[in-house]
Amino acid sequence: MSEAKWMSKRTYGLQSPPSLGVPGKKRYAMVIDLRRCIGCGACVVADDPPCVRNCPTQATYKHESGFILQRYNRCIGCKTCMVACPYNARHLLPAARTDHSQPTDVADKCDFCIHRVTRGLMPTCVTTCMGGAITFGDVNDSESEVSRMLDTHKTMTLRSDKGTRPQVYYIGLDGDIADVAASYADRSVQMREEFNIFKRNRLGAGNIIEGESETGPVGFPLQVIRNMINFVKDIVEKGYR
């Protein structure tokens, strides 16, 4: 059986091989022009995603056209995909949602708006980007806009050294911002304080605040105890979900 037939038989294409540059295959990608970007935040979709290979229940899978999709009914919320993702591109859906038909407490991620793309529309972020900074399309199609952008501009990807083959390309990306260690070390006092405020407002099980008093011999154990109390308190709350 040829590879193409074998692939077509796998509806979900759990571990589809990377399709970048493979003739006859689609490989959707995104180019973000940071010269036009106002910094509203963006997603990352990888061609060799660690979240897919680490998911224990096959809840996350990679479509052969490059979409990384989530089966909410299979997800147990173990957060392995979040730990595996070098981009923090994955998140847990909130426990309380306005629309009760929506999934809760399961992992999710940007799926390049597959529901729109398969109907011939562009992803929502592309259509709503007020600067027109985002270009989307099939990178294996040499006639597409996204291929033309990649051919004519110098592009960079985020943390490509992690072996993920990311398919979101940036034009005009500053290397110091893209590097996680540099961005951590160079962050301002204001950003540190905002980080602490964010953490203080979260009831997460492991959020450690990095303020001077909180990381000391008294503060650190107190943080650990507080986190554990939150974890235990959550037992009662989870019973109602």
Binding site: L14, G39, G41, P50, R53, N54, C55, P56, T57, Q58, R74, C75, I76, G77, C78, K79, T80, M82, V83, A84, P86, Y87, N88, H91, L92, D105, V106, A107, K162, T164, D179, V180, A181, A182, S183, Y184, A185, M191, E194, F195, F198, K199, N201, R202, G204, A205, G206, N207, I208, E210, T215, G216, P217, F220, V224, N227, M228, F231, I235, K238
Partner: protein
Amino acid sequence: MEKELIMNAFHDVYWGVPISIYFWLMGVSAGAHVISGFGWVFGLKKYKQVGLIATLWAILALLIVPLILIHDLGKPMRFFYLLLPFYWHNSAPMSWGTVLIMLYPCMMSIYAYFMYKNNERMAFIFGIGSILSAASTHWYTGVVIQLNPGRDLNHTAIASLLFLVGAFISGTGFLIVTFWIMNIFLNPLKKIRDSFQEGFIKRFIKACSIGEKVEDSLIVEMGQVMAIGIVVELILTLNEYLQMIYGTMEEQSNLYDVLLGAFRVPFLAYVFFAMLIPLFILYLSPIKRRPFGVAIAAGLVCIGIFGMRLWWVLGGLFQQSFY
């Protein structure tokens, strides 16, 4: 606050303190179980007396683990999905880990049963199996967080070795402290043992050697065994430390911003409590041959290794939580 949420700039530490506690309990369980195997598998007669009670502690520590793990899930009621064959995913470490975590207590229970029945041959056979499953289960806890290339602090090949050696010393330390406390309360324990009428419970308590003094020489010997483990742990940590100093920007940032920064308390607790102070007590101090001294060192090791589990799990996720 709104800005960070909208920009998706700050993230939670997904695997938090409960997962650290799970790693610590798993290590204590595996370490205690290996000590139990000294007598019944490796043939050291001195350790036979404590074989059953060591395994019981290992089972007890392991009983807490599923409660923590299942509650940490976003959907706790779906935990059994991990066991369904058609949900099985070969490439996911957690799939294999689930099998190991299921296998380990089963093997341990059968091994404990044959120890109770004093069936040396079967205890030997299941002892080998359960020690292998104990080692592989704890090896898995190192691997599950090691196989994440995005987490620079954890993405190191010696992760599982550090975990295994840490498990061995914390398990041994936990048993030493337990035996020392049991020796202190020897008379009350004897009274409790004698208060039962002849029957299953009394036979079980006797098989566990509860109410019998654990020899001081055994406690001191366990301390020496623990000291060898601490030396190996020290070498591995030194190796990792050197790699971080001479390392890439990520590794240096991990050392200075995480280990010596926000996580300096658990990291220094690990270095001093789990390694340097116990080594001093066990090799150089005047109380090195006394059960009291060995128990102090063992207690410090348990605290220090918990510190290591904290910075290991939380630290790797912490740095990137800003990105």
